[in-house]
Symmetry: C2
Subunit: 430 residues, 2 copies
């Protein structure tokens, strides 16, 4: 293997095609992987069949406890860092920077079974497959579980991996206040995952994350494996509108300062911006809160969240600019005060082309169709890409459904993704 | 006085101009009225200075207890009916159908000091003014406090007066479930206002309600008294949208079934309908609830309320029709399910022209500017108009602000309104 030990050697992985005879018989076992996925999914299951393990809740703690118990059963050395990221180390034959793989196990309120969990449990299955044949990789392997990837409770999303790579000071991360008013650091202490390891505990030789696509592309095209070479840029804002509450019957339309109308106008403007810019541009108003939120009272205040994404930084900025211009005109036209607060901003990310080629090659050797693609969602991998060569492996999401209890991926695709991950990690670690 | 005892003799009040020498010296005392208004406003006062006495809450109970204690102090015979309406009877010299006056003391969550309260406490001040001079009217006077006028907790609004006039069966009214899931009948029992008097306890000879305008017309025009001759029709709906929750980053715009976008589109469409129809047409989306209401999840479900009002029934129906057509097109275009539930529907109301002329005449005799006008808000008077000659007296709202802690009316306007009420009631009762 040509992974030569220097951290950012993106293209070095691609030339070699190792067929190490010592690894004959090495393979993941789909039944074990599927069993662990189901057992983890049972924690925080809602009446409607969703997984609800918001970051650092009791349900998240139960999920963490289960994964840590599995890590220990597989002989991994478990460490938890100060922001609650969990790492399971499998030592290599040489004391070199490790190859890291993993994802997250926190979910949105209406999460599916595989989002994040597949990346963690797929990496655990890689470890167990290596244990099965008694194989030792040259480089250590680290299975990582990052804190608060979803951002559904604490903003920004990918907080644990962002802090890990130095993109967010520890103090600031710990002081983050969630949608329920709780402080992240307090919740970490409460669930027993305020660890003592420093941030950036391991500096990986490479990072690979297996994930469901969460979009429709692979499913629609009938492609089994995505070699993810890039990731959309993300712009998150919270917009607060202050108008004037008044009687819904007696106040002529022209005399209103209606924060509820402004919220609505933002929602329809976002659709317009996405249509005008076209291509990959997506815009979402996912959260709306009105005050006093009563049928016969013009809303005095509104708070909405705005999620804008594009694979191209210039176009993402253009979308942001059009939205900002709109807010200014809206505030003027409606006689309201509009304030915005940036919750997250990540530029589009290019992943490591060499690792993407390793993924493509192994998929091909297994007879699996494969395509290069962009991730529409944010992932911990985008943070790790700041400190080491990184790529992702996607498997299809049926119907492209995600963040929904109906999220699903065929068992054979889950297994195929884990097998490609196994071969990719072994090559990178050899 | 020509009020001849037959219930609907609308024009009979107008011709007479009584100058009863026995009533010389009869006048309301502004200081007493203002003091009672302030003492009632102190109950349920919020940090931001609003009155929050949602119907049948502990705060509403405290307000009721205070008003009932005042009624008893003034010698009124207090009775409470099965829907919690409170009546204080002052006997007349003859056992005839009484002249009734009153309003409500429940508030919205961000209510002002005078909305409803002025009508109740103004009528109490009329009673005390009569007590002051030891005058007895020919007809009895009844001061009424109607249950749940605002509708901020239980729909429909004006529930107590609607039930009183036979427009809502008692059982159905008691089974109404509030926004907090509580049953109205249970809450009435809980606060001790499930009375034993039957609905329709008194069949009034006439009903007059003093109220703040809650709109800007009198204030802008500098007119002191509104003789209210009609009232807007009201259409309330709850609209429920069922889409599909999905990832805000990975789901292309064309593949979305976004309930949050639909809520926004409803908000902007309502503005458009109001603009197209013009005139008095008002439309409001006062309440929005999204699920799961998270920044990075396309909303699966949305519930919004729609408040449409017009003084003209045909135009109100036209607005409803345009809105219904829009919902149908929206459901089709977005691939979502949209259901509507009617929360309230009241046709525009014509008040009694004879009483309006009595109001105009007394305002003129006091040197107060006065105009005929329409009420933009719903009031208990519109229900009483179904069973007896009815009208309303409006006083200016500064800046037209209502349902807002900044709601205000000048003390001299409060007093002027109560004085016009006194003279009107005395004329109707003589």
């Amino acid at each position: 293997m040509s992974c030569c030990g220097h951290g950012h050697a993106g293209h070095d992985h691609a030339g070699s095609a190792p067929e190490d005879p010592a690894l004959a018989g090495l393979a993941i076992r789909p039944d074990r992987l599927l069993d662990r996925l189901e057992r983890l999914a049972a924690i925080g299951r809602t009446d409607e069949g969703a997984c609800c393990r918001l970051a650092l809740t009791d349900e998240d703690r139960a999920g963490r406890d289960l994964v840590v118990s599995w890590m220990r059963e597989l002989g991994l050395e478990v460490r938890v860092d100060r922001i609650g990221n969990i790492f399971g180390l499998r030592r290599g034959s040489e004391d070199l920077p490790p190859v890291m793989s993993g994802s997250h196990i926190d979910t949105v309120r209406t999460g599916g079974r595989f989002d994040g969990n597949l990346g963690v449990l797929g990496a655990l299955e890689v470890v167990e497959a290596l244990n099965d044949v008694g194989a030792r990789t040259r480089r250590p392997l680290v299975v990582a579980v990052f804190t608060n990837e979803e951002g559904a409770r604490f903003a920004p999303d990918m907080l644990g991996s962002l802090a890990y790579v130095g993109g967010l000071p520890l103090r600031q991360a710990l002081d983050t206040v969630g949608i329920d008013g709780r402080r992240l650091g307090d919740e970490l202490e409460r669930i027993g995952y305020a660890g003592d390891a420093g941030l950036g505990l391991y500096r990986p030789h490479a990072f690979v994350e297996l994930h469901i696509e969460q979009g429709p592309v692979l499913d629609i095209e009938g492609v089994r494996i995505g070699a993810v070479e890039s990731l959309q840029g993300i712009s998150w804002q919270e917009v607060s509108i202050t108008g004037q509450s008044n009687h819904a019957g007696t106040t002529p339309m022209r005399m209103r300062h209606d924060a509820g109308y402004c919220a609505a106008a933002i929602g329809t403007k976002l659709r317009e911006i996405a249509r005008e810019l076209g291509g990959d541009q997506v815009c979402t108003m996912g959260m709306v809160r009105l005050h006093p939120n009563l049928i016969n009272v013009i809303a005095a205040r509104a708070t909405v969240t705005v999620d804008i994404r594009n694979t191209d930084e210039a176009r993402l900025q253009e979308a942001e600019r059009r939205f900002a211009d709109f807010l200014e005109a809206l505030a003027h036209a409606e006689g309201v005060k509009i304030e915005t607060r940036r919750l997250a901003r990540f530029e589009p990310v290019r992943f490591d082309d060499g690792i993407a080629r390793v993924v493509e090659r192994h998929a091909a050797s297994m007879g699996l169709s494969c395509r290069r693609m962009t991730s529409g969602a944010g992932h911990d991998a985008q943070m790790l890409a700041r400190i080491c060569p990184t790529a992702m492996i996607f498997v299809p999401s049926i119907g492209g459904i995600s963040h929904n209890p109906a999220e699903d991926t065929r068992p054979e695709d889950l297994a195929a993704g884990a097998e490609v991950l196994l071969r990719t990690l072994v090559e990178l670690a050899s």
